[in-house]
C-alpha cells in the first residue's frame, strides 16, 4: 500500500484548508490585539481595526472552524456508519468550492463589503456560496448516514444531524437581505426585528457551530483516544434533546437593556439559565467517562486535551448564563469581559478539542503514531497558558472599565471621562497580546507536530 484511502484524502484536504485559514486568522487576531493599544498598528484602509476585526472573526469561524468540522464529520461518519462517503466526488468538489467561497468572502470583507451583522458580515454572494456548500455537505452527510451499515446511530451522529439542520435554518433566515448592488445589501428585517433575528442567529451560531459539532467530536474521540466508553447513554440522550431545544430561546440575552421588549429579554435570560443543565450533562458525562481510571490523563496523551476542553466548555456555560443576568450585564456588557468570555470558548474548548481530534485522525489515517508526544504536550501547555492569560486579563479589564463607566462623584456626576477609561485598558491589552503570542507559538508547535506526523506516515507507507 502506497497511499491513504480516497475518503481519508478528503478528510485531510479539509484539515489542511482549515489550518491554512487558521494560521492567517490567528495572526490577524494578534495584529488587531496590538491595534487596541497602539494606533500605529493600523495600516491604511484595508488594515484598519474596523475592517480587520471582522476578517479575524469570520476567517476563524468560516475558514478554520467550519472547515475543520466538515473534515472531522466526514471522518467520524466514515467510522460510525461503517461505509464510505456516499458521494466522494461531491465532497471533493465541495472542498474546492467552499475554499473559494471563503476566499472571496474574506477579500470582500477587507474591501469593506459587510452586512454589519455579527458573524454574518459576509455579503449576499458569500451567503449564497455558504448555503450551496452547506447543502452539498448536508447531502453527503445525511445521505451517508441514511444508508449506513450500522443499525444504531451513536451520539456523535445525533449532534451532526442537529448541526446540519439548525445551521441551515439559522443561516438562511438571518441572511435574508434586499440586494442593493454587488457589494451591498440591507437586512430584510428592520429595527427591533433586525436585532432579534440577528441575535437569535448570533447566539445559535455559537451553539451550532462551536457547541454541537465540537460535542460530536468530543463524544467520538474521547472514548477512542482513551479506550473508555462514554459513562452514560441516558445522560447523552437527556443532554442532547434538552440542549437543542433550549438553545434557540436564548438569543435575546445579547440584547439586555436594549429597546427590545422586556418579556423577550427575560425569556431569553431564563432559558439561558436553564441551558446550564444540558451543557453540564455533557461535562459530567465526559468527566465520569474517565472517572474509572484518571491515570489516563497521564498515559493517553490526548485525554488531557479533551478533559481540559470540556472543562472550559463547563466554565463557559456557567459564565455565559451569569453574564445574561441583568445585574451582571449592566456591569460587563460592552466591555472587554465579553471577548474574554468568547475566547475561553474558542481558544479553550474548541481549539483543544479540535487539535486533539486532528492528532488522532492524522495518526489513524497514516497508520502511525504521532511524531512526538512531548511536542504535543508543549503545544497543550502553551495553548492553555495563552488562553487562560488572555481571558483573565480581559475579565479584569472588563470589570475595571465597567466600574469606571459607572463611578460617580459625590455630587452625582461621573468621575471619569471616556478617554480615561480607555487609557486604563492599555496595560491589559498589551498583556493580552503577549498571551496571544504564547498561544500562537503553541499552535506552531501543533502545526509542526502535525506536519511531521504526515511526513513520518508517508515514509512508512512508501516503505511498505
Amino acid at each position: 500500500m502506497k497511499e491513504i484511502s480516497g475518503d481519508s484524502k478528503i478528510v485531510m484536504g479539509y484539515i489542511y484548508s482549515a489550518l491554512f485559514w487558521g494560521v492567517i486568522g490567528l495572526v490577524l487576531g494578534l495584529l488587531i490585539s496590538a491595534q487596541m493599544w497602539s494606533v500605529s498598528f493600523n495600516f491604511g484602509e484595508y488594515f484598519s481595526f474596523g475592517r480587520l476585526r471582522t476578517v479575524h472573526t469570520n476567517m476563524l469561524a468560516y475558514g478554520l472552524g467550519i472547515t475543520a468540522e466538515m473534515g472531522a464529520f466526514y471522518y467520524i461518519i466514515g467510522r460510525l456508519t461503517k461505509r464510505n462517503l456516499i458521494f466522494p466526488g461531491l465532497a471533493k468538489f465541495q472542498l474546492v468550492f467552499y475554499n473559494l467561497v471563503v476566499l472571496v468572502g474574506m477579500i470582500s470583507l477587507f474591501m469593506g463589503y459587510t452586512q454589519s451583522l455579527e458573524y454574518a458580515e459576509g455579503e449576499w454572494y458569500f451567503d449564497l456560496g455558504v448555503v450551496v456548500s452547506w447543502v452539498l455537505f448536508a447531502i453527503n452527510v445525511v445521505g451517508t448516514i441514511l444508508t449506513r451499515k450500522e443499525k444504531h446511530m451513536y451520539v456523535s451522529l445525533w449532534y451532526i444531524l442537529a448541526t446540519i439542520v439548525a445551521v441551515a435554518v439559522l443561516y438562511i433566515v438571518n441572511n435574508l437581505h434586499i440586494i442593493a448592488g454587488l457589494g451591498k445589501s440591507y437586512h430584510l428585517f428592520a429595527g427591533l426585528n433586525s436585532a432579534n433575528v440577528e441575535w437569535w442567529y448570533g447566539h445559535n451560531a455559537v451553539g451550532f457551530l462551536f457547541t454541537t459539532p465540537i460535542l460530536a467530536v468530543f463524544y467520538y474521540f474521547l472514548p477512542k483516544s482513551t479506550g473508555m466508553p462514554i459513562y452514560s447513554h441516558r445522560l447523552s440522550i437527556l443532554s442532547f434533546w434538552s440542549l437543542i431545544f433550549m438553545y434557540l430561546w436564548t438569543g435575546a440575552h445579547h440584547l439586555v437593556y436594549t429597546p427590545l421588549p422586556d418579556w423577550l429579554q427575560t425569556l431569553g435570560i431564563v432559558f439561558t439559565i436553564l441551558l446550564i443543565a444540558p451543557s453540564w450533562g455533557s461535562v459530567v458525562n465526559g468527566y465520569l467517562t474517565l472517572a474509572p481510571d484518571w491515570s489516563k490523563l497521564r498515559t493517553a496523551y490526548l485525554a488531557k486535551f479533551f478533559i481540559a476542553g470540556i472543562t472550559f466548555y463547563g466554565l463557559q456555560t456557567l459564565q455565559g448564563p451569569t453574564q445574561g443576568l441583568r445585574a451582571v450585564s449592566s456591569l460587563i456588557h460592552y466591555t472587554d469581559w465579553v471577548p474574554g468570555h468568547v475566547h475561553m470558548g474558542t481558544m479553550g474548548w474548541v481549539v483543544l478539542t479540535v487539535t486533539a481530534a486532528i492528532y488522532y485522525i492524522t495518526s489513524k489515517v497514516y497508520k502511525t503514531e504521532i511524531y512526538s508526544e512531548s511536542i504535543a504536550n508543549i503545544h497543550f501547555w502553551l495553548v492553555l497558558i495563552g488562553q487562560i492569560g488572555f481571558s483573565i486579563t480581559m475579565w479584569i479589564t472588563g470589570i475595571r472599565q465597567g466600574l469606571m463607566w459607572k463611578t460617580a462623584n459625590a455630587d452625582g456626576t461621573l468621575q471619569y471621562s471616556f478617554i480615561e477609561t480607555v487609557v486604563g485598558n492599555y496595560p491589559y491589552w498589551m498583556a493580552r497580546s503577549a498571551f496571544g503570542v504564547i498561544f500562537i507559538v503553541g499552535m506552531l508547535f501543533f502545526l509542526y507536530n502535525f506536519i511531521m506526523t504526515i511526513v513520518k506516515g508517508k515514509q512508512n507507507l512508501s516503505n511498505q
Binding site: T114, W158, A252, K406
Partner: protein, 303 residues
C-alpha cells in the same frame, strides 16, 4: 447502546425531522411570533417615513463599510450611568427604519446614539482624519482616505431604492462633490435627534453667572486644572490655550470689543454646559470643583 431496535436512534430520517421540529419551537416563539406583534414595530410620532437625506444614507453606508460598529454601540441603556454619560434612553421607535440595526455590542469607543449635534461638523471631520490630534492617547484609527473619496450619486440612488427610500433627482445630483467624510459626518450629526434629552445635567445659569471662582490663585487647584486641560481640552484649544481652527484662543477671553469680558461665572458655565453644536458640556463627567480648577488654570493662560 439502546436495547430497542426500533428506537428513534436507529431511524435517521425520523430523527432528523424530530430534531428540526425541536429546533423550530424556540425559533417560532421568540422570533416569528413577536414579529406579528405591534410591540416589535414601534414608531416615533416625530419621525418621517424617510428619515435620511441622501447624504446621511450614504454616510450610514460608510459607517457600515468602515466597521465603526466594531467599536461603537448605539444604544443608551436605561441605567443611570449610561444616561448621564450619553443622554436619553434609546427608544424602540428610533430604530424603526434601521436595516440592519446598528446597536453594536462593544464600546471600545463611546456610544454614539446621542452624538448628533454634540460637536461641530468641522470637529467631527478633523477628528475622523486624526483622532490623536484631539485625544493623544486615543486608539481610534485615522480615516484620511474618507476625505479623498468622492461619493457616486448613481450608487447612492441605487442603494436608496433598495433601502426603500425615494429622492428627487436634484437631491441625488447635489451629492456630486461630496466626499465619504462629508457623508459620514452628516450621518453622525443626525444620530439621536428625534429624542429630546430630559436628563441632561446642566449648571443653573442664574446660580453661576455671577459666581466667583473659589480656586483662583490656588496653585494646587491650578495644577489639577492643567492636568485636566491636557487630557480633555488640549485637542481643540491647543497647548497653553493658544487656540486653533477647532477651538477658541483662550489667551484672550475679551473677544470682540463689543462684548464684555468673560467673567469667572461665564467660563464655568461654558465648560459645564458647552456651546450647542460647537463644544460638549463637561458637567456630567467633572465635579464642580474640577471645573473651577480648569477655569482657574485657563485664567492663568491670559496674555
Amino acid at each position: 447502546m439502546s436495547e430497542n431496535n426500533n428506537s428513534i436512534y436507529s431511524k435517521g430520517l425520523i430523527f432528523t425531522v424530530v430534531a428540526l421540529v425541536v429546533i423550530l419551537i424556540g425559533t417560532i416563539v421568540t422570533v416569528f411570533v413577536p414579529m406579528m406583534t405591534s410591540a416589535m414595530h414601534p414608531k416615533l410620532s416625530n419621525m418621517q417615513e424617510n428619515p435620511y437625506t441622501p447624504l446621511q444614507l450614504a454616510g450610514r453606508d460608510v459607517y457600515q463599510k468602515e466597521g465603526c460598529i466594531n467599536c461603537h454601540s448605539q444604544t443608551v441603556r436605561p441605567l443611570k450611568a449610561d444616561v448621564l454619560r450619553y443622554g436619553e434612553i434609546s427608544q424602540p421607535g428610533e430604530s424603526a427604519f434601521e436595516r440592519p440595526f446598528l446597536w453594536g455590542s462593544k464600546r471600545t469607543g463611546p456610544d454614539l446614539a446621542r452624538v448628533g449635534g454634540v460637536y461641530s461638523d468641522e470637529w467631527q471631520k478633523a477628528h475622523m482624519i486624526n483622532p490623536q490630534h484631539f485625544f493623544p492617547s486615543s486608539n481610534m484609527p485615522k480615516y484620511p482616505w474618507l476625505a479623498e473619496k468622492k461619493l457616486d450619486p448613481a450608487t447612492v440612488e441605487k442603494h436608496a431604492k433598495a433601502y426603500g427610500l425615494n429622492y428627487k433627482p436634484e437631491d441625488i445630483t447635489a451629492l456630486e462633490n461630496a466626499t465619504e467624510l462629508d457623508a459620514l459626518v452628516a450621518y453622525l450629526q443626525q444620530l439621536g435627534i428625534y429624542v429630546e434629552n430630559t436628563h441632561a445635567i446642566k449648571a443653573d445659569e442664574a446660580a453661576f453667572e455671577n459666581a466667583t471662582n473659589p480656586n483662583l490663585n490656588n496653585p494646587e487647584k491650578i495644577a489639577r486644572g492643567e492636568e485636566i486641560y491636557n487630557l480633555l481640552c488640549i485637542g481643540c484649544h491647543a497647548e497653553n490655550g493658544k487656540g486653533q481652527a477647532e477651538g477658541y484662543d483662550l489667551t484672550n477671553l475679551t473677544f470682540a470689543e463689543a462684548l464684555p469680558d468673560y467673567t469667572d461665572g461665564m467660563i464655568f458655565l461654558t465648560i459645564a454646559n458647552g456651546l450647542e453644536g460647537a463644544m460638549p458640556g463637561h458637567l456630567k463627567i467633572m465635579t464642580k470643583d474640577d471645573i473651577w480648577s480648569v477655569a482657574a488654570y485657563v485664567k492663568t493662560l491670559a496674555k
